[in-house]
Amino acid sequence: MLKNLFKVFSSLKLTVTCLSLGCILVFWGTLAQVHLGLYKAQNEFFRSFLVYWPLDGSAPHIPIFPGGYLIGTVLLINLLGAHLRYYQPGKRKIGIILIHFGVVLMLVGQFMTDFLSRESALHMRIGETKNYSEADRAYELAVIDTTDKDSDKIVAIPCSVLVRRGDVSDTEMPFTVREKTFYANSELTEKDAAGFEQVKTTAGSGAGLWWREEPRVTAMDSVDQPSGIVEIATPQGSLGTFLVSAMLTQPQPFTFNNRTYEMLLRPERFYMPFSLHLMEFHHDKYPGTDIPKNFSSRVRLQNLDNGENREVLIYMNNPLRYQGETFYQASYDPDDGGSILQVVHNPSWLTPYLSCVLVAAGLMWQFLSHLIPFLKRRMAAPANASVPRKEKKR
């Protein structure tokens, strides 16, 4: 039984099947991006084990096709199995081994990137200093203890955690944050309008507003605006229900046990042990046109821990790499008064580079090791093109 299973898993037929399925998946996933949007299509097709019907995630949730992770995993197993089965040391095989090892490295590296990497955005107006970056699409509920004069203690609860757990407690918080309602995308208005219902909260500035749930966005350049009603539950009873929203930028204050707190929903923040200060931003265009030639930000990097204080120029194709984070010039404010840097943390960034070298070397080896003898033979047999050749077919 095991033997047969192994045979199947290391067979070339499985490779061809996986590759063909992969082709279909990539093609289908690309077409799906038109309606689902790049981000959602990526998650449904490529960053999943199975593709479900219907594609937008609603019921019934029937798996209909293998997803990117599944095909990738099977290919990986197939590769390793085939090598174990057919391993044969020899000069001729070096090419194949290099190629396949490179592919393995690429697949594993991409898996790792999916799980380990983190992208966020750092938006600064000219003259602004910031030591944190914000997630593009993830929000957090920040519960801030503002009692102390010099510093605030922040308990940041990612929205995904809030929704998943319902009740969030932490040793650093003397109360529990309870999610009552949460809309992943929403709209708020100050006046009653069709489709909206009144926000029913007992505390904070939610009263007097109307809200409703919106469908998740699919376009690449829009972001969901979540809102939710949370309750602060203490051992002595509830402090009330509050409305928190991505669109409410004023924090909701409350007090408990002689300590003052604030709460607000904001894009997830990643604080860095250093700060960046945007000194200048330049948007160069080609003369007489609006075609952008270059964007560049001059920033001052300040690290209080090691006293570093220097100027850096970040521009297109020239990022700043510092302490495991890379800062790319990504975008800018329409009035050219601010710059948006993309901050990427990707520990497995080297794998594609290595993989490329390995596979290229392997392919070259494989290719040349067949081509050169072939050419030699053709040169040796002058003009007798009609003589059939017995070439060892691979």
């Binding site: 003369p287 890379t326 053709r378 093109a385």
Partner: protein, 613 residues
């Protein structure tokens, strides 16, 4: 005797190519000299000749304008009319309209293909109304009528802006007008300052100056090319102005700049029908410029030469000739035919390469920078592969592949040039010669080689099904060719795709984003790998290999063009109706060929009973 024919043919074609370099001296208006004058437009310096050709291509889809009397206007002659004698240009039938609904809206007869601006003018209001409405609609959601109407609208806009680029509307004797303007500046400025200070002022002088400036302000706002170089030797050399801005600035300097003077003289000379004045002004101005702006003048001259030489068109003609000869050689089997074809392909390739390198020199960029140049380069790469195959196998197949690929890619490129300037400036993130030279070139070669494999497979099937020329020997050669090329394609498409990912990683920190174009490239790699593994696993033999290679054609055409039509992602160029039809037609043709390939062997002429040998 017969062994000299190849050389004679090559010499003849080379002679034809070189003969086009000679141009008889111009009588009358020296429009070619005017065409050499450099201007700054779309962010780059180009000769008026390029402006003319690109604008006319956009509007008329051709580079010439036929007149009723049988003569032809060159692009520059047409541009001169537009710039200097718009009332005459308005009568020329240059606007190409194919869409019936647009014609109905414009109340124009459907019998023609080209219409003049005067024919469109009566309905301008209606057009504008429609354009306003359509502007709010997303590109991807527009109907064919709406897309075509917007296209016409933007062409009319381009046309009108060109009309106002050199001469203010209503001006006849521009030179005399500038004289009058010059004289009006001092008293006019005095009047304005007096008015500002609240004192009494000369109303006439004031009105006079305001009148001129109002006119020039309109020109300043809408003129397209910047024709006047900076007069201050210390100013940045790129700081050119259009003539309107320059004339308005004259109110401060008090002196009309020599270039403006020169252009005004040209206008007056052209309008009054005196070639001598016009030619003098052009050559004097040329000398003046050459003294101060030699790099721009030289670049413009070279680009002018390139435009007139038209290397790609010439290569196309020779490729067609070579193709015909190579096809005959399959049936005729005489070696002189084959060698003629081979040498002609070589000649065409040399001209093709010359054009490619010249473009690189003019742009200062690696060979592939946009869709147009990718087509040229794919042809170039495919021709090389074909010639290598021909050199090894010497059976005319490589020749056919090379000539066919060269010819078809030139046609595709020509159609891609219809959107305007093919040497446009690169956007910020693309402004990196290193990655353009590595990723883009390698991935394009990957496309080219996959197409070559597909072409070889098509030859196999066509020759096998319809003729008796697919001998076992030929079949085996073809199979080996396809296999070899697929290996090559795998290497280049893989490396090219990964290089693209590395570029993305260097640029914005994300190696792979599942963008449609990235997915397209990945598809090519996956498919080529599938072909190789299927063959190794014995899942396909010769015929199967050929069919798989033809599918490779479909995959590559999807990746090259199809993904651009989705209208999403980072590489989208927008949906062009005609291109979509051609893509579907191509895919259909490939599927038909696959069906042919799947026919049982006994239906193949080459494999049917009563074998040849």
């Amino acid at each position: 005797m017969k062994k000299w024919i190849p050389l004679i043919l090559v010499a003849a074609m080379a002679g034809w190519v070189l003969s086009s370099l000679y141009q008889p001296p111009e009588t009358g208006f020296q429009t070619r000299e005017f065409g050499k004058l450099p201007v700054l437009m779309d962010g780059r310096f180009q000769p008026f000749d390029s402006v003319a050709r690109n604008s006319l291509l956009q509007i008329r889809t051709k580079q010439t304008v036929p007149l009723d009397n049988g003569q032809m206007l060159t692009a520059t002659e047409w541009l001169l009319e537009v710039l200097m004698k718009p009332e005459q240009a308005d009568d020329r039938k240059v606007f190409r309209i194919d869409n019936g609904e647009v014609l109905a809206l414009l109340k124009l007869p459907e019998s023609q293909k080209y219409y003049s601006f005067n024919q469109l003018k009566p309905q301008a209001d209606e057009l504008e109304k429609q354009a306003d409405r359509i502007e709010g609609i997303d590109d991807a959601k527009r109907t064919v009528f709406e897309t075509q109407l917007m296209k016409l609208f933007s062409e009319m806009n381009l046309y009108q802006r060109l009309e106002i680029s050199l001469k203010p509307p209503g001006t006849d004797d521009f030179a005399a007008e500038l004289d009058a303007y010059q004289k009006s500046i001092a008293p006019g400025v005095a009047a304005v300052s007096a008015r500002d200070a609240g004192k009494k002022f000369d109303q006439d002088a004031f009105n006079n100056l305001i009148g001129f400036m109002g006119n020039y302000e309109t020109v300043a706002r809408f003129a397209l090319p910047a024709v006047i170089p900076p007069s201050d030797p210390g100013a940045p050399r790129n700081d050119w102005q259009n003539i309107g801005t320059n004339l308005m600035a004259t109110a401060h300097t008090g002196e009309i700049s020599p270039p403006a003077q020169a252009y005004a003289t040209m206008v007056t000379g052209y309008r009054s029908g005196s070639p001598a004045d016009f030619n003098h002004a052009v050559s004097d101005y040329h000398l003046w410029l050459a003294d101060r702006f030699a790099p721009q003048v030289n670049k413009a001259s070279r680009e002018f030469f390139f435009n007139n030489f038209q290397p790609f068109y010439k290569a196309l003609v020779i490729y067609v000739l070579a193709l015909l000869l190579a096809l005959f050689s399959w049936f005729n089997l005489s070696d002189w035919l084959r060698r003629s074809a081979f040498y002609l392909v070589g000649l065409a390739w040399v001209i093709h390469t010359f054009g490619l390198i010249f473009r690189m020199y003019l742009e200062g960029r690696p060979p592939v920078t946009n869709l147009y140049s990718s087509a040229i380069f794919i042809g170039w790469g495919a021709v090389i592969l074909g010639m290598v195959l021909e050199n090894i196998y010497r059976d005319g197949i490589g020749c056919v592949v090379a000539a066919f690929a060269g010819f078809v890619t030139q046609i595709i490129a020509h159609n891609l040039a219809m959107t305007g300037d093919t040497m446009e400036m690169m956007r910020a993130v693309l402004d990196t010669n290193f990655w353009l030279a590595t990723h883009v070139v390698v991935v394009t070669l990957g496309y080219a080689s996959t197409f070559v494999a597909g072409l070889l497979a098509i030859i196999y099937i066509l020759r096998g099904v319809f003729t008796t020329t697919l001998t076992p020997e030929t079949a085996k050669s073809l199979a080996r060719m396809v296999y070899g090329i697929v290996c090559f394609a795998t290497l280049f498409s893989f490396v090219g795709t990964v290089l693209g990912g590395i570029w993305a990683d260097q640029s914005w920190g994300r190696f792979w984003g599942w963008d449609p174009k990235e997915n397209g490239a990945l598809l090519i790699v996956l498919w080529n790998a599938t072909i190789l593994h299927a063959r190794w696993g014995g899942l396909v033999r010769e015929r199967g290999l050929m069919n798989l290679a033809i599918i490779g054609n479909i995959v590559t055409s999807w990746s090259w063009f199809g993904v651009n039509m989705l209208g999403i992602g980072l590489h989208s160029y927008g949906f062009t109706d005609a291109a979509f039809k051609w893509l579907m037609f191509f895919v259909g043709s490939q599927l038909a060929l696959i069906v042919l390939g799947l026919l049982p062997v006994k239906m193949w002429k080459s494999f049917s009973p009563a074998p040849k040998s």
